[in-house]
Amino acid sequence: MRTKSILAGVSTLLISSSLIFAGTVSGKVTFTGTPAKPKTIDMSKEPSCAKQHATPLTTESVVTGPNNGLENVVVYVSSGAPDDGQVPAQAVTYEQKGCQYLPHVLPMHVNQELKITNSDQTSHNIHPLAKVNREWNKSQPPGTPPISEKYEKPEFISVKCNVHPWMHGVFAVMSTNHYDLSKGGGAFKLPNLPPGKYTITAWHEDYGTQTADVTITGNETKDVDFTFKAKAY
């Protein structure tokens, strides 16, 4: 009993301390050169989807923001912060709407629940091409309950819909809770890092990965920027 309470006390102390001296890594992902310009997607095969897009959808494998910001880049701590094993309770959801995956890149924690919903009038077919994890291929007719899945091993999984070949997305399965997805101008933020040496990795589905090492001492914010080389084709 007493030992228990002591343990509890100690652990709370540790956690709080790690919160007190919480470093943050933030920065910006940019690109140099001229990226291939997004191709418009012709959905005429699926009228019910096509009419949901006032301006035709374009490919999302390279999404750029203002002043060379690069979006949809997964930035995460690849070493230094061992996985604390905390699986987020709430599920991440992956929506199929207008024959498009929302979001295009979906980061999630290993074993976190993944809910896949179909908001379209047509039947979709979710086919994540997993290599490390178990590959599955399920159809989801309109009006059927969401598909619930989870992945056991960290992996970047490319997702396809076999019925609508243009539909393409990514599951980024992480073994850490310290990850972020570059937004707007390519900005990202990794908060709550206890002091220590870290390797930060940035992953982009077309341009590959880049890494940077940072050391957090106490309560501070370190700036780390990544620059990818864009491919014209």
């Binding site: 012709d42 005429s44 095969k45 490919t59 047509t122 076999n162 243009w166 077309d206 084709y233």
Partner: protein, 265 residues
């Protein structure tokens, strides 16, 4: 019971014939230059098949009506003609009938499959893959870029596996998900299968042809009527087979050129 059976057959036969005679469900109007012969062949066959169908059912009904449940002392009768008559009759009538059909049919078939496309036919490549058709126009240079299966990436819309980086011909190739063609111009369709067997079927054009993986086949036709038609896959190709389709837009030459320009940008 026997008379009821006879009556039932007659009723069924007549009811089955009505939708045919009234053209309740029938193929849409033909918009191709070669289709007329096929339709003609179709209606001739329909006439002959229909007559044989009705005749057979009626005779069966008549005999069942007349010769069932007869009195025990009733006399058996032998069909006057005998087997020889029937056999010779069948050989002559049916033989000539089907041979005629076969021979006339050759012409209709030849139009589509045996005659070569004319030299100035417009080449379009169609690629069938699970579960969509994509169409490729050679672009201003009139040359198709080479295909590199390993480069195919549907996520970034490199449907055909083109290599614009190194292949100059590929740079101006125009890829579309719907097929636009100028009216009254012969099209030479080069059919390429990306993965498994598919088929290219346009009812109005009176064309149906399977894609053969590993072997590019070709098809040629001329559309004579402006409009929007449906291209469907008729070869079971997997779970999305039912949804594998594309639209065929037959346009005036002017509209077509504009469309092509628009796609080019």
């Amino acid at each position: 019971m026997a008379k009821f059976f006879a009556a039932t057959i007659v009723v069924i036969a007549i009811l089955s014939a009505i939708p045919i005679l009234r053209h309740t469900w029938t193929a849409p109007e033909d918009i191709s230059t070669h289709g007329a012969l096929i339709d003609e062949q179709m209606s001739e066959t329909m006439a002959e098949a229909g007559i044989s169908f009705l005749a057979a059912q009626f005779i069966l009904a008549f005999f069942v009506w007349k010769f069932s449940n007869r009195a025990p002392d009733a006399k058996l009768k032998k069909f006057p003609g005998g087997a020889k008559g029937l056999v010779i009759g069948a050989l002559l009538v049916v033989g000539i009938e089907v041979m005629a059909l076969g021979i006339f049919g050759v012409k209709a078939w030849a139009n589509v499959y045996l005659d070569a496309p004319s030299a100035n036919a417009m080449p379009i490549q169609v690629q069938a893959g699970q579960f969509a058709f994509y169409f490729r126009y050679p672009g201003p240079d009139g040359k198709f870029g080479g295909l590199h299966p390993e480069l195919i990436n549907e996520g970034s819309q490199n449907i055909f596996g083109l290599d614009p980086e190194h292949d100059v011909d590929a740079r101006d190739d125009i890829v579309a998900a719907e097929m636009a063609i100028p009216v009254n111009k012969e099209i030479h369709l080069l059919m390429h299968a990306k993965d498994v067997g598919h088929s290219f079927f346009v009812r109005e054009l009176r064309v149906q042809q399977d894609f053969v993986p590993g072997l590019d086949v070709s098809l040629h036709f001329t559309a004579t009527k402006i409009g929007k038609y449906e291209i469907v896959c008729t070869q079971l190709c997997g779970l999305g087979h039912y949804n594998m389709k594309a639209y065929l837009e037959v346009m005036s030459q002017q509209d077509f050129d504009d469309w092509l320009k628009k796609q080019g940008q």
